[in-house]
Each structure stands twice: as C-alpha cells, then as structure tokens.
C-alpha cells in the first residue's frame, strides 16, 4: 500500500519534472543565446555550448588529386567516394576523416580527427548594446568620422512602467466597484447591463482602434499617457468586471448582511469587507492585466505610435533595435531578457495569490 503510494508520487513528480524541463528549454536557450556573439548566434545553435564530439582539423591541408570530375568517383587513400561525398567529409575508418576543401581545380584535402569541443565564447556585448545603445559611426564628407550613440532601453523602460502601472490599477478599481454593484446592489436593468458588459468580451480590440484614434485626435489625447491608460482601461474592463463579479458575488452572504444590519453603507462594506476579502482575485487579475499591458505592442503602436517618439514603450523600442531590415535580430535575445525582468518580479510578488485567484468564481456554492 505504502509502496504504491510512493510509486504514484514518483510518477507524478517525474512527469512534472519532464514538463518543467520542456517548458524551460526555450527560455534557457534564449538566455544562452543572449550571451553569445553575433556570428556564433547566426552560425550555430545555443546547444553547441554543451560539450560534444566534433571533428577538428589536424595538420596542414595537402594537395588533392588533380584532374577529377564531378561525376566520377574519386579514390583517396584506398577509399572511394563521389566528389560531393568527399566535400561533406568521408570517414576513413581509422577514427579520422578527410574533407575536400574548395573546388575541383583548386581544392585541397584536410585531415580531421575527433575531439570533444564546446563553444564557450561568451560575451556581454548584446546586453551592452541594448542597455547603452548601439554606437554608430557617421562618416563626414571631410573624411573624419564621429560616433553617435543610439537610443538605449532606459527611457522606454520607464515609459513602459508609466504605461503599465496605471493601466493595471485603474481598470481594477473601476471593475471592483462595478462588480460589487452588480453583485450586491439592486437597481433596475442590472441584468441587462451586466450581460452588456460580458458581451463586450467578444469584441476584438482591433476594430475599435481607428474610431478611438479619431476621437483621440479630436480630444488631443493622441500620443499622451492619459490616452493609452484610458485605452487599456477600456479594453481590460469587461474581463476584469466579469472575473471580479464572479468572485465577489460568491462572498458569504451572512457577513455582508450583518454589516448591513449594523448600519454600514455600501461604500463602507465595499471598502472594509469586500476589498480585503477579494485580494486573491484582485491580485490575479492584476497579474493578467499587467502582463498584457507590458507586452502590448499594437495598442501602444497606434496610440503612441508615430507622433510621439518620447513616449515609446519597451516593445516598440525593442522592435526598432533589430534595425530597418532586421539585420540585428541577435539583439532580441538580450532585449527580451531585460524586458522579462519586470513581469517576473510582478509574477513572483503576487504569485501566492495567483493560484487562489485562478479559481476565483470557478467553484460555485
């Protein structure tokens, strides 16, 4: 009996371990890539840092047999293979391998032996370029050149925080009030309005972009932080209201009723009872909303977009770092890691509420 139990635990933990490893591999790969240099990233995978057997050139190349053609087999040291096979390398059977380097006329033979190797050529250059900005050399007509420092992430990082924090707090506050109202206050049309709010969940935000942009231009909100806070608040509210309603409406009726009998007003109940009791739901929604706003590219692009460079958020800045034609995509590795830091901090800070919050409203009765 005890044995079976232990075996079951082992199996469960084993499966969990495998899942965890599988899920972390991409992040580990990203981390490893971010400390490799540009040429390494472009020519080999991050896993080449793991010690592995590889063929290493030994000695100087020697002359290849002359006057061979592409479609005739070529015999070297008693081994016969086609030219294309020789180019890829042929194992000679004695632990060495011969590769035909170069073309048929000018090619040479290179002997390879097997060795354990690993590519541990680490550099912090990617982080340096992302954090301090890339250095561009500008040639002047008179032959001199000056170095111009490109934009770094600092300004965009602060902008992202400026966007994300109010865009998380404002919808939560409004939604908590609304959820309390829908759950515990009686007023005509309550059901209809609530259904209306829930129905908003299915409206994709993309279709609202241009109309809202038009209004923003008229109200002169375009390119301002206030504008983007309002946009994120609007887009986040239906889900927030729905989620918090489910949680708040499940609070024990007795507590609230006794408060009523003691003469508490709605505001007092909301502030003294409902808010403290729904911290798990608030926290879990805060995580959702914060991650969504932090990673948002589209909304920022449209409402901050092309009129106000000073307010660029992190996602926009990172997208630009790869260069006009994407030639510097290797910088995405380190930039992605830097942008991950804040969401990770938020997640771990609020994590203890998260599991409780995930079940918010899911279990009735």
């Amino acid at each position: 009996m005890k044995n079976t139990k232990r075996r079951a635990i082992l199996v469960v933990n084993g499966v969990l371990l495998i899942i965890i490893v599988l899920w972390t591999i991409p992040t580990v790969g990203l981390l490893v890539s971010s400390v490799r240099d540009r040429n390494d990233i472009q020519t080999s995978g991050w896993w080449s840092i793991i010690p592995h057997q590889s063929w290493v050139a030994s000695g100087e190349p020697i002359a290849a047999p002359p006057d061979q053609t592409r479609d005739q087999p070529i015999t070297i040291n008693g081994v016969t293979a086609s030219y294309d096979e020789w180019r890829n390398g042929v194992n000679m059977g004695d632990g060495t391998r011969i590769v035909w380097v170069g073309n048929l006329r000018t090619g040479r033979l290179q002997l390879y032996t097997q060795q354990i190797s690993m590519n541990w050529n680490f550099t912090l250059d990617n982080y340096n370029q992302v954090l301090a900005g890339k250095a561009f050399e500008i040639q002047r007509a008179d032959g001199t050149s000056t170095t111009v420092q490109g934009d770094d992430l600092v300004g965009a990082f602060l902008n992202s925080l400026t966007v994300a924090i109010p865009s998380t707090i404002i919808p939560i506050l409004i939604a908590a009030f609304a959820a309390y109202g829908f759950a515990w206050m009686k007023f005509p049309g309550r059901r209809i309005i609530f259904i209306g709010v829930v129905a908003m969940l299915v409206v994709p935000l993309q279709i609202a972009l241009i109309p809202i942009l038009r209004d923003y231009v008229n109200l002169e909100l375009n390119g301002t932080f206030l504008g983007i806070w309002l946009a994120h608040t609007g887009f986040g509210l239906p889900l927030a209201t729905y989620l918090l309603y489910n949680y708040i409406s499940q609070l024990p009726r007795d507590i609230l009723e006794s408060a009523f009998i003691d003469g508490a007003s709605h505001f007092t109940i909301f502030q003294r009872l409902v808010l403290p009791l729904s911290v798990p739901a608030l926290a879990s929604f805060a995580i959702f909303q914060f991650l969504w706003v932090w990673n948002d590219y589209l909304v920022a692009l449209i409402f901050m977009g092309i009129t106000n460079r000073g307010n660029q958020v992190l996602t926009m800045r990172i997208a630009e770092m790869v260069g006009s034609r994407g030639q510097d995509w290797h910088l995405l590795t380190s930039a992605a890691f830097i942008s991950m830091i804040v969401p990770l901090v938020v997640f771990f800070a609020l994590q203890r509420y998260f599991v409780r919050g995930l079940m918010a409203g899911s279990v009735k009765g």
Binding site: Q139, P211, G223, T307, A319, G323, S324, R325
Partner: protein
C-alpha cells in the same frame, strides 16, 4: 540652503528651456539653392523658426541616426525642428493614423503603391501646388517624376511627393578573394554569365546563392528577380503596363506570354541542377539576409548573389568592400533592350499643408538633404544636384555611376503594383512556384486574379 538650490535648479532648467526656444535661425548660405518655393525662401530667412514638422517612416536605428544627422544643418539654418519617429510596423500604422486623422506631416513610403490609395482619397497634398515645376524637372529624371505622379481624388494627376532616396537592385555580389583565386572573370553578357555558372558547376561548386524567405513577406526577393528578367526580355512599355498601368485597358496581365517567358528564363537559372546552393528546395526556405553568408565561408560555397545594395549590412561582421566582396551589374539578356537598371526608392508624401511643411518638402527635393547620409553610407541620391564625390563608399559611388550609365531606370514593379498584388499575391505566387507547390501557369493566374478590378 536646500530650498535655495532647488529654486536655482528650477530657474536654470527654465532658462535652458527658454534658451532652446529662443534659439534662432542662422539662415541658409547665399546662393546654395535656386528655384526655391516661396516657403523655402522664407524658411531660409529664418521666418519659420520655432515651428516643428513631424515625420514618420519605416527606417529605424542606424538609418534614423544618419537621417537626423543629414537634416541637422537645415534645422540650424531655418530653426525648423524636424521630428522623425521610425516604426518597424510603419505600413500598418500609417494606414490607421491617416484614417484616424493623426497622420504625421510627412511620411516616408518605400512602396509608392501605398501612396496611390492615399492620393486617391485626397489625403496627400499635391506638391506641385507650391513647388517650382521647373526645379522638379531640372533635379529629377523624368522617370522619377512619372512615378510620383498619381491620380488625385478627382482623377486628375497630382504630384504625390518627392523622391528622397533610392536603392540599386541590379547588382550581383561576389566574394572577391575566392572569385579571383578560382580564376573567374566578371561576366558582361548573359551568355558569359551562364558560361561562368557552368564553369563553377564543373569546378564542383554552386554558382548562386538564393534565398527568398522573409517571414510574412516571403517571396519578395523573387519578385525583384522577376522584374530584372522582365526588363531584360521585354520592352519598357510592357514593363510599365505590367507594373504601373495608366489605366485598366493597358494592363499587361501576369498571364501574358512576356511575363511567362521572363519566369521561364528565371527558372532556367534557378532550377538547373547544381546552379543554386541547396537546390530549388532551399530557395524558399532560406532567409534572404542569410542567403549571401555562404559566399564568405572558407572555402566559398557559392559565388554570386543578386540583391540590392542594402544587403551589405547582412554580410558577416568584418568583411570589407573591395577586399572581401565586390559587385557587378547583372548583364543584359537581350541586347535589344539595352542596359536597364532596377531601383527602389523612398517617396516622401505630405499630409498636412503648413508653410514649414512645404519648406521642408522643398528641402527634401534637393541633394543637400542627403549629403551627410551619402557620406556615411546606406543611401543613394535620386537628385541630379547630388555630387558623386559626396559618396563616402566606393560601392555606393559605383552604383550611382552604374545608374547614370544605364539606358533606362525602372522602379521595383512590385512596389508600384496595388498592395493586394505587390505585397500580396505576387510574393505568394512566386513562393508557391519556386517551392514547387503549383506549376508556373497556375501561379501566374493566381497572382493576376488578385489585381483589383
């Protein structure tokens, strides 16, 4: 004490602020420009100092730095502040911005086909209303002006913008050291090019490196190739009617024998055994930026790569122009059609009509606006008043010379076509054909079906 220093600090900041505001204009050098618009003249006298012009475009990062450097002098002369914001998703954002009424004063379009829609909607300001036509005719080749002339909201042609920069496309890059070590010579005719390719195959190598993968835009390098072959195998009239028909009746469809012939010619180059590194299957799966990398392997794995001059920024770090790589002109196929040169370029279109925006647009029609960018590399000037000696790199000066020697200059056709074709079915159709998913006739018919009626 503390309070005093804070007050002083605030005063300092305020005074710095007012200093910037009051920073005047030093005026343009005398006699630098002729045939100026009234607005540029008044800007040059400093009368528009303190105004700002917003700009947006797809170039970011390094190009943005070079751009800001190239306008710095003009800003000091006139006191006009040009505020540029680049975005990687420019094409999508500009549509939303213009629709939403939040368009920047000036936008940089690398695909003039996009401007066509804005021009027809009456969103774009006709620059011929204030620019001196004599000046435009003097400073641009006629074909540039033709390509910036588009139907306005009432069907009348308007000049939808000024050409600010261009890229040369008809260039074949080769790894100079390996190429010379193998004893190859630069081909000047199509037959020589094929003979060289055969020679390289016989030597046991792949002559060409081709890659057309580019995420959502996969296939665009194939459209460039198609345009090159079209220009070399059919008349300019056919090319123009194919890429930029003046009206529907003249349009040369993709199903026309001239287009099919071009595709088949391209096919013989791409699909001949051993001609392309990795074979036909590798073409669609190779990222265009990684495609030239095997040229610089040791030993070189391929010897030729056709691409616009921007590709040098994808070459491995440390390779040098003129030492490790060089370029030659993709030779003509049929002598009858001369030496055409394919280009792409950036059209600056104007969305808000204010005196300072007019002045800045006039400035961009002058070579002076690119002078420092040409010096630091990465741009070519379409302006006739730009001097060859302004170019900082021999490669770019060489391309500018090639363009001036060309018998005809034509714009990247896919950038001129309506977006549904030029950045849609043309890319996809070519990719499907190259990867062998559909045969040529089906692919061409599919591309053509997307053309807006």
């Amino acid at each position: 004490m503390k309070k005093v220093s804070i007050v002083m600090l605030i005063a300092l900041v305020l005074s710095l602020g007012t200093n910037v505001m009051a920073q005047g204009a030093s005026g343009c050098p005398d006699g630098l420009w002729t045939l100026m618009s009234a607005e540029l003249e008044s800007a040059c006298k400093g009368e528009l100092a303190g105004t700002a012009v917003t700009m947006s475009g797809p170039f970011t990062d390094e190009d943005e730095v070079k751009f800001n450097d190239s306008i710095a002098e003009f800003e000091a002369w006139t006191g006009i502040d040009i505020q540029y914001t680049g975005s990687k998703e420019f094409e999508a954002v500009i549509r939303a911005s213009v629709e939403g009424g939040a368009a920047p004063d000036i936008a940089d379009f690398p695909q003039p086909g996009t401007v066509k829609g804005f021009a027809a909607d009456g969103k774009v300001v006709d620059i011929s209303t204030f620019m001196n036509p004599e000046w435009l005719a003097q400073n641009y080749l006629a074909s540039w002006l033709d390509m910036s002339s588009m139907p306005g909201p009432d069907g009348e042609a308007i000049t939808a913008g000024v050409w600010a920069r261009f890229n040369g496309k008809s260039l074949v890059w080769y790894p100079k050291q390996a190429f010379e070590a193998a004893g190859y010579t630069i081909p000047t005719t199509w037959d020589e090019l094929i003979a060289l390719s055969d020679q390289i195959v016989a030597d046991g190598d792949a002559p060409w490196c081709v890659g057309i993968e580019s995420g959502a835009a996969t296939g665009w390098p194939a459209t460039d190739w198609m345009e090159e072959v079209m220009l070399r195998t059919t008349s300019l009239e056919n090319y123009d009617n194919w890429s930029f028909p003046s009206d529907v009746a003249n349009r040369l469809p993709f199903t026309d024998p001239a287009v099919k012939n071009a595709a088949e010619t391209l096919g013989t180059l791409w699909f001949t055994d051993n001609y392309v590194l990795g074979g036909r299957q590798a073409i669609a799966g190779t990222f265009f930026g990684d495609a030239p990398t095997p040229m610089f392997a040791d030993p070189a794995q391929c010897y030729m790569h056709k691409q616009g001059n921007f590709i040098t920024s994808f070459f491995p770090e440390g390779v040098q122009a003129g030492v490790d790589y060089d370029f030659f002109y993709l030779p003509p196929i049929d002598e009858e059609y001369g030496k055409p040169f394919l280009v792409a370029g950036d059209l600056y279109a104007m969305f808000n009509d204010r005196p300072e925006v007019r002045a800045v647009m006039d400035f961009f029609s002058r070579g002076e606006s690119l002078k420092s960018w040409l010096g630091s590399g990465g741009a070519l000037s379409p302006h006739n008043d730009a001097q060859l000696e302004w170019y900082g790199s021999d490669v770019e000066r060489g391309i500018a010379e090639l363009v001036s020697q060309a018998t005809s200059v034509r714009f990247d056709g896919s950038d001129l076509m309506p977006a549904a074709v030029g950045s849609g079915s043309f890319w996809k159709g070519m990719t499907d054909w190259v990867s062998g998913t559909v045969d040529l006739d089906t692919a061409l018919a599919e591309i053509d079906a997307a053309w807006p009626q």
